[in-house]
Amino acid sequence: MTPRAWASLWRAFAVLTAAIMLGPILVVVPMSFTNSSTLAFPPEGLSLRWYGELLTNPQWTLRIPVSVETAFATAILATVLGTLAALGMTRGSFPGRGLLTALFLAPLVVPIIDLAVGDYFVWALGWQIGHFGFGGGLAGTVPGLVLAHTVLAFPFPFITVSTALTTVDRTLELAAAGLGANPWRTFQKITLPLIRTGMVTGALFAFLTSWDEVVVASFLASPRVSTVPVQIFTELRQSYDPAAAAISTVLLAAAVVLVGLLALIPVLSRRAYGRSPEGFAEIVTRGGGAVGAATTT
């Protein structure tokens, strides 16, 4: 075979792989526009009926705000904590740093069902050691979901900000100090803008972690407070409700938009700095690698 023939063969193989991977995800999109009252492929008729259902049926209108609030709060909390931890780990020098870093990354490797079970007991019943108590009454609340999801999402901003910090030239911070900026001003004016890309990337990953999380959320959900993915799971077990396909399509669209934003970061920062930030590729690969690791566990 000629090299050209080999090339087309490889291309066909790549397209096939992508089709196998994306097919089951994309099949949901046409199904959501069906006019019938059960899920079927190919869809019968064409309507926005089930999207209307999302906006009117309380089983969805109650879930959507909970999911959005939880994902936003998780993204913010995980990014703040992840940034602080990354600063401590990359800039500090103290014994046990390696162990601590491993602990910070543990949520990526700990079986998620273990976390869910542990969270469930502590959140629902509370945890008492001597006079110190934690949890109890947190199951079935948004703060409870946010805390549990923050644990899961924390490694992403931690990794992306750590990577960003290692690419920040320490001389810039020295230069700022030499010009009269105290440590806080230096952080605010020099370090923070230079790690912003890492923080935004980490926040997006954290948001997505919470946005489509089912296992922990289903343990912590109550009939009154639950998230969209948990509701989809419940719906599909009970009936083939096409509204589940409609909301899945909405979740998919949100994820696509967020990942699209991620792809825009180098373009935006090239406009801002006159060049793409150093190590950006590394952030995305390491962040992406971490995401891969998380999905396989």
Binding site: D169, T171, L172, L174, A175, A176, A177, G178, L179, G180, A181, N182, P183, R185, T186, K189, I190, P193, L194, A272, Y273, G274, R275
Partner: protein, 361 residues
């Protein structure tokens, strides 16, 4: 008391003494270079002055005020880094304004000072550019403007020109010196390039193993080095080691240990029996070909290397290789060929007697 007064400055990393009791004083407006090979402690000294490191001993005072324990951001010292360290997320104007913004100036005063500063480094039309859009020489000038705009008491330069190509470097040396004189700021410049140190400085401090070996004007360190280390740090030198055998009307006769001898005149206090080193700069040696009758020193040309404005001859004489560098002026006859016999001669003042590093003289 001098404007910059460094006393017994010491810095130790583990069991490695990087600075071993450094003493240095500089007058107001003076330009001092710290010259030495990598690892001699020159950059550490600069970082201690800037406040980026804490010394293990000694003191630093500027303008009569001790700053040894002051944090870097309260020292009022301008620094130009080797990598320039321009803030990539800020424009040229914002970079220069940064130091002023940390001080109680109004927005109007800052804008005016930034404008004047851009004037000084001839970059007026670049205020809104990003550092990444500038050439190396332009970045260098922005770094200089940023370090000077807040009128620091002291300007520190860390190998600041080494990233530039040779032609630009020579141009920046002159420009930097011109600006420093105009502003009147006291400057400490770290470099490993002896030409740079000699060109720019009022005084050169030659450093080795965390100490200053010699601190003097460029012509003195070049023409009167205290030892062979200084002699070699500042340029090429033929070093001849020997023992003083006798004294005659012309000077001291040195036995070079392999049967050859050399007569040198000196006012240094040396005695018969001392060992010492003689340094002769290659450009101080004259070649005569063919050797005139009665020439004291005759050798054979081993190699000839043309280097544009000069030619380097390696001549075998006195059982060793002597380097001779002659200027290539237009129309000059450079008729000497490899393997030819030549006579070597130099002015008596060209042979510099050096203290032995082992301390013999």
């Amino acid at each position: 008391m001098a404007f910059l007064e460094i006393r017994d400055l010491t810095k130790v990393y583990g069991d490695k003494v990087v600075l071993d009791g450094l003493n240095l004083s500089a007058q107001d407006g003076e330009f001092i270079s710290l010259l030495g090979p990598s690892g001699c402690g020159k950059t550490t000294a600069l970082r201690l002055i800037a406040g980026f490191l804490q010394p293990d001993g000694g003191s630093i005072a500027v303008n009569g005020r001790e700053i040894t324990n002051l944090p870097a951001h309260r020292r009022n010292i301008g620094m130009v880094f080797q990598s320039y360290a321009l803030f990539p997320h800020m424009t040229v104007g914002q970079n220069i304004a940064f130091g002023l913004e940390q001080r109680p100036f109004s927005r109007k005063e800052i804008a005016k000072a930034v404008d004047e500063s851009l004037d000084m480094v001839r970059l007026n039309s670049f205020a809104s550019r990003r550092p990444a859009e500038l050439s190396g020489g332009q970045q260098q000038r922005v770094a200089l403007a940023r370090a000077l705009v807040f009128q620091p008491q002291l300007l520190l330069l860390d190998e600041s020109l080494s990233a530039l190509d040779k032609k630009l470097r020579v141009q920046m040396q002159l420009e930097l010196r011109h600006i420093q004189k105009e502003v009147g700021v006291t400057a400490v410049f770290v470099t490993h390039d002896h030409e740079e140190a000699l060109t720019m400085s009022d005084r050169v401090a030659v450093m080795r193993n965390g100490r200053i070996v010699q601190l003097d004007t460029p012509s003195n360190v070049y023409r009167a080095p205290v030892d062979d280390f200084v002699a070699e740090s500042l340029g090429e030198a033929n070093l001849l080691h020997g023992t003083v055998k006798s004294k005659d009307g012309l000077g001291f006769v040195l036995d070079l240990g392999d049967g050859s001898s050399l007569t040198v005149a000196t006012d240094r206090p040396i005695r018969v029996g001392d060992t010492c080193t003689v340094a002769i700069r290659p450009e101080d040696i004259e070649l005569a070909s063919p050797p005139a009758a009665g020439s004291n020193l005759v050798g054979r040309v081993r190699s000839i290397a043309f280097a544009g404005n000069t030619t380097l001859y390696v001549v075998e004489a006195m059982h060793r290789e002597i380097r001779v560098r002659r200027p290539n002026t237009a129309g000059a006859k450079n008729g000497v060929a490899v393997d030819e016999e030549v006579a070597l001669a130099w002015d008596t003042s060209a042979a510099l007697i050096l203290a032995d590093r082992q301390g013999a003289v």
